[in-house]
């Protein structure tokens, strides 16, 4: 990807974003400055700067034609973005909350994901759909869904989710530069979280589709992404006392899926736990566990386990801590890996 070098250069020239929210805003700004065909549209993205302030200042800097407050209609927003992309623009759409994106599902599935295929490559749609997702911010119902499995099940879409400040910047820039549509899932509870700080030194932007080992380890692999990365990092730290040396893999991209990095890690450690907030049944973890089993069966010393949200509609905020997989639930699974290996 040619943006990598430019991105690294640009970042050294400016103050480093402190939060994921700032990094996302910076990525939008830099993309718009670099490419006049990049347009941001959505509900409240203009004057207000988005309800999460990700688009703050864009309308002022680039004008309302480039950062547009639309009528409140998700299918209309995404449908209009399709037409804009057909005419050569690069729309970046903001869906205000995970569950608010559902009215736009038909546009996403029937048109955004398929247009390249329908037209035999003549009409690719370079659209980025930003979806703040996941729980943990005390939102009332319809504000905390983890909808990644729906998107993953749709060929033609890339599905990307950052867990660090650096990735928020780099992956969003790569998504906007991509000639294919990208569903860019933003873990909203990491928007302002210190946990979202990258554990490593700033790295150049990598192409979409590569997982990264956040913590090397020898005794088991935690496979995770987005909002669950800090949980896994903390669990890995805590597990040291139990004698576990856990490796943590951050997927960063659910589609395309980096089988190589995941399989290489599990072959080294022989044990794997997939951790995410989304429901376990029909969730991403089932797919990931199956892929690991198919590739690493003879290296496995225990079944691949999943630590996921319960198979329930997202609970009211006063109950959500019971639903979201935390450090203890991850450590319990790790302990089960030992038990399963011995029995």
């Amino acid at each position: 990807m040619t943006t990598a070098a430019a991105t690294a250069g640009e970042r050294t020239a400016k103050a480093k974003p402190a939060t994921m929210a700032q990094a996302l805003g910076r990525a939008l700004r830099d993309s718009m400055a670099q490419d006049p065909s990049v347009h941001v549209l959505g509900e409240d993205v203009g004057t207000l700067g988005g309800v999460f302030r990700i688009t703050d200042g864009l309308a002022k800097e680039f004008g309302e034609d480039r950062c547009t407050d639309t009528p409140l209609a998700e299918a209309g927003i995404l449908g209009a973005a399709v037409g804009m992309a057909m005419y050569g623009l690069r729309p970046v759409v903001e869906m205000q909350f995970d569950a608010f994106a559902y009215p736009a599902f038909e546009q996403l599935i029937s048109h955004v994901a398929k247009m390249r295929n329908r037209t035999a490559g003549a009409m690719p749609l370079p659209i980025t759909v930003r979806v703040p997702y996941g729980g943990g911010i005390g939102g009332v119902e319809h504000h905390s869904d983890s909808s990644e499995a729906y998107y993953m099940a749709t060929p033609g879409l890339h599905v990307v989710t950052p867990a660090t400040v650096d990735d928020a910047y780099g992956l969003l820039r790569a998504s906007i530069a991509s000639d294919d549509p990208v569903v860019f899932l933003e873990p909203k509870r990491l928007y302002w979280s210190k946990a979202a700080w990258s554990p490593h030194a700033p790295a150049p932007v990598e192409p979409i589709g590569r997982a990264v080992v956040r913590r090397p380890g020898r005794s088991a692999t935690l496979i995770t992404y987005g909002p669950s990365l800090p949980v896994c990092m903390e669990a890995a730290q805590a597990a040291v006392e139990e004698g576990w040396d856990l490796e943590v893999v951050d997927l960063r991209s659910l589609v395309p899926f980096d089988d190589e990095t995941v399989a290489a890690s599990v072959r080294r450690t022989g044990r794997a736990v997939v951790v995410h907030e989304s429901t376990g049944f029909g969730g991403p973890g089932g797919e990931i566990a199956a892929r690991i089993t198919e590739r690493c069966f003879h290296h496995l010393e225990a079944p691949v386990l999943r630590v996921a949200g319960f198979d329930i509609p997202y609970p009211p905020p006063m109950q959500e801590r019971h639903h979201l997989p935390g450090v203890d639930r991850v450590l319990d699974a790790v302990a089960r890996l030992q038990w399963e290996a011995e029995h």
């Binding site: 449908g79 050569g88 623009l89 037209t119 395309p256």
Partner: protein
């Protein structure tokens, strides 16, 4: 409970909402009560004879295209064909009012509009034949892919027109939808966006009476579909959809209005689907012969022919010429559709993403193995193509 006023206190008086005024005057947006007509009226005298003759030739060709495509379904050459027989005036006018730089957004029934715009008849039929989803490059012809989901192409037309205007291009998008499609959410969202953005779009509703089997009265309680426009703040226009001259004129005015920055228009063309929804549908279950016969007397090709012959603009030679040209088109179409399309199964993986994912490469390799085994079994070595 009675509210008692305290002695000496000022009486409570509810105030009206501050500074309310209507955003626009609704009166100019309302459609005329009668559908606009040209043929058989005084307005026909003002119509350009050359345009009428051109519309006539296209109507004759369009009718022949519909009958030929329907025949191809009976021969198994098309998987399905949603005929626009009876609606040719709308199809032709939609294609002819647009400049080359403009865009057409057809629904699944509007193959004919795409052909009238100049698209190769075979390329226009690949979706319905089943060999390709879209047999042409939409950018090359400025024709969006034929849209199967209802009304979902309307927001695309709005977005494209909006983008063109942002780029300073003098481009209009014309989007076609049926009466059933007006009940969909995307219809509403598209019209609302278009009006708010003042996008250069024209929405053409072909009200052909039925959404498969459901009649208009069960589809809407609005006075007319054109009346819906006023709720969005755009003009609504009613036109006789079998009168090609009238549809052409109303659409021309709407296109001109859009091009000059006046914003979108909603045009409702009152027409009738003479054939069933598709060749797979039985229309006798939901409508009677007498209704169909009444519309047969209002046939779009006949309306134009009567107007032109009555005014001495068209004679037997002219009619013969138009029919011969239509037969030539039909024969060419028949011949080309009778050749099996050459397909490469490996294309299944080519256009999912710009760059194939590892997973798709693995699956493509799997299919390659299966094809090779098949070819070995059948003793062919054509690489899996052309079976």
């Amino acid at each position: 409970m009675t509210v008692q006023e305290l002695p000496g206190a000022a009486a409570y008086r509810p105030t009206p909402p501050p500074a309310w005024k209507p955003l626009t005057d609704p009166a100019p947006l309302l459609p005329d009560p009668e559908p606009y007509r040209v043929l058989g009226t005084d307005a026909a005298a003002d119509a350009d004879p050359e345009l009428l003759l051109r519309l006539y030739a296209e109507l004759v060709r369009g009718r022949r295209y519909n009958t030929q495509a329907t025949a191809l379904t009976k021969q198994g050459r098309l998987a399905v064909y949603p005929s626009s027989t009876g609606q040719e005036a709308c199809e032709i006018a939609a294609a002819l009012v647009l400049e080359e730089r403009d865009w057409l957004f057809p629904s699944y029934r509007d193959t004919l509009a795409a052909v009238a715009r100049g698209l190769d008849p075979v390329e226009a039929l690949t979706l319905l034949r089943g060999d390709r989803h879209t047999g042409y490059d939409p950018r090359e012809h400025r024709i969006a892919p034929l849209c199967t989901p209802l009304a979902t192409q309307l927001p695309h037309a709005v977005g494209l027109a909006h983008a063109a205007r942002l780029k300073g291009d003098d481009v209009v998008a014309l989007a076609m939808v049926g009466d059933g499609g007006t009940s969909e959410g995307d219809f509403h969202e598209a019209l609302n966006f278009a009006a708010v953005w003042k996008a250069p779009v024209v929405f053409l509703v072909q009200n052909n009476g039925f959404a498969i089997s459901v009649p208009l009265a069960k589809q809407t309680a609005a006075p007319s579909l054109a009346h819906k426009a006023v709720g969005y703040g755009m003009p609504g226009r009613l036109v006789d959809g079998n009168d090609a001259a009238a549809v052409h004129q109303v659409l021309s005015e709407a296109v001109e209005r859009a091009r000059s920055g006046g914003g979108p228009t909603l045009v409702e063309a009152i027409t009738y689907r003479m054939d069933a929804h598709t060749n797979a549908d039985d229309a006798t279950r939901y409508r009677g012969d007498s209704e169909v016969e009444a519309w047969r007397a209002h046939d779009p090709v006949q309306l134009m022919e009567r107007e032109l012959t009555g005014r001495g603009l068209l004679g037997a030679d002219g009619i013969e010429e138009a029919r011969t040209a239509a037969e030539r088109m039909a024969a060419g179409l028949r011949e080309r559709m009778n050749a099996d399309p050459v397909l490469d199964p490996m294309d299944l993986f080519t256009h999912v993403y710009a760059e194939q994912t590892t997973q798709l490469r693995e699956q493509a390799a799997r299919l390659r193995v299966e094809l090779d085994a098949e070819n070995e079994q059948h003793g062919t070595d054509d690489g899996g193509a052309g079976r």
